[in-house]
Amino acid sequence: MRQTTLVEARPAKVGQSRRRLEISDVTFKWILLLPAVLAVIALLIFPFLFTLGVSFTDWHLFNRGAPINFVGFKMWASVLSSKYIHTTTLNTLGFVATAVPIEFGLGLLVALALNEATRGRSFFRVFFLMPLMISPIAVVFIIGRLMLHEDIGAVNAILMKLGFERVMWLSDPMTARFTIILVDVWQSTAFMILMFLAALQSLPQEPYEAAIVDGSTALQRFRYITLPLLGPVALTATLIRGLDAFKVIDIIYALTGGGPGQATESVTLTVYRTGVKGGDIAFGSAAAYLLLILMALFAFLLMLAMRRWVRRTTD
């Protein structure tokens, strides 16, 4: 099928060999990229800025006909001084600060074990990935509704058989927070396992060989070689998982609906409640931006730590 004559008639230079369709590289590359860029500008960047704008007004969806006024930082002030927002912000921060370290620790532990395993490694790896594929809502149903049901769940049944008291997984505020973390850990530890295992398997072998020759113990090799080399991946994993944890809503909405009271309500759920359900879109917008600022701060601090780590290891 090669058109020999056409090719021979044409100088064999990359720059001139594509006249047939009459599009230049410049046109072509923009045709490819432009849809994605336009989609992002129209569907993400513009809405982001719009929300910022709304947060400086007193726009309420259910006040039909009322004029929308620009009120400056008034809405921000009411968000920042609202007890409701304080509670849900603390809940969110508490969730991130508890769930992510637990997942980090368990994930690292399981990944190290997987890395040591000689038999059945691919089975375990695939099996452990499963919770990550399932929707959080299904996870809530499996863990929260079936396993941890206060009356008919498997866990309470076993606990009571062993002579313990029945645990009120959802009706006590502190326990409900713990239950939400438990559900998240069941699902998202898989992500940490994935990250750490991939990192462990791409570690260079030379430092280990040298350390063995120098007569080091396994513990020393772990402490002085493995851990430092895992640093960058550990920070990246924390960054991705942490940012995801800040956005938590599915688990909470489906498991406790934010209750009892507001003990488990997250900021995203507050935005949904006030802005979408309550129609107070100005308040909701400001609350959403508060979440964005918290996440940006978290990302900034982690990036700073990462930069410092890289500098220290390259020095």
């Binding site: 090719v7 044409r10 990359v14 060999s17 594509r18 369709l21 072509f28 990229l33 994605a36 992002v40 993400l44 809405p47 982001f48 929300t51 399981v110 190290l112 074990a113 997987l114 040591e116 395993a117 375990f124 099996f127 452990f128 990935l129 499963m130 594929m133 399932i134 929707s135 959080p136 809502i137 299904a138 149903f141 499996i142 863990i143 509704r145 079936l146 396993m147 008919i152 498997a154 309470n156 049944a157 076993i158 069941w186 991939a198 396994a218 994993a237 991705i240 599915d250 909405y253 489906a254 949904y272 802005g275 879109i281 909701g284 917008s285 959403a288 931006y289 979440l291 964005l292 990302a299």
Partner: protein, 284 residues
Amino acid sequence: MARQRRLKQIVAYTILFFWTLVVAIPTYWLVITAFKLPQDINARATFIPWVDFTPGLHAFQDVFIRQGLVNSRPFLNSIVVALSTAALSTVIGGAGGYALARFPFQIGRFSNDRIAFGFLIQRMFPPAVLLIPFLLLYRRLGLLDTLSGLVLVYCAFSIPFVVWMMRDFFRTIPVEIEESALIDGCDRVGVLFRIAIPLSAPGVVTAFVLVMIGSWNEFLLALTFMFNKAVTVPLFLTLQTSVQYGTQYWNMAVIAIFSVLPVVIAGLALERYITRGLTFGAVK
């Protein structure tokens, strides 16, 4: 040395065994719940089929035959939404990723790496910030409770991800193959369709599957914009827990199993490739 090694293996397999139980027991519990009769759930916890309860197919009959029509709607919706979102964002995002991998760009002070990073950052933004503008827009355009509305907002979130992922993928394919095709007289479009896409087929499939899984599982946006006609599976599952006459755990278990099966199969089949997509290329 040999003893140390043996000890390490024992510790490693203890941990693996423990985590296998953690993952397996709830899964087992979900599956047996689907085969239980109401009284074996509501009266007390029952653990082993044929020992403390007799398994039956009544929940499957309920879900598929008696309530088949009601239950099929959210599944059909989810299939349509997941496939359209995956197709649209793979095409648009894949094209963008290819462009960023192969051509030099300059938008103001931003060159390729910066533009790609700009796409990645979108992925980190909280959807909470998008709820309100989309709500206002959809009210105006009549897109609330429509499948096309849901596909549009899902594409907004998945296109940046696909761009980032596919750029990463295209960059691992040696550019020389495409250059020699150009010299042989293939045009740019031909190079893209006959060489670049076939060579990066695993990447294209992974992007497609990951977006599909993501839209199949997404909850918050579906909750905000859909309420009746265009309800998707996760939303349907939450609505079922608040049915008036108490939750029918057996039926929900059947629905949950079928909501989970397609994504688990797709995900596990592509496990090798998916790792890279999920870690944003942080780990190769």
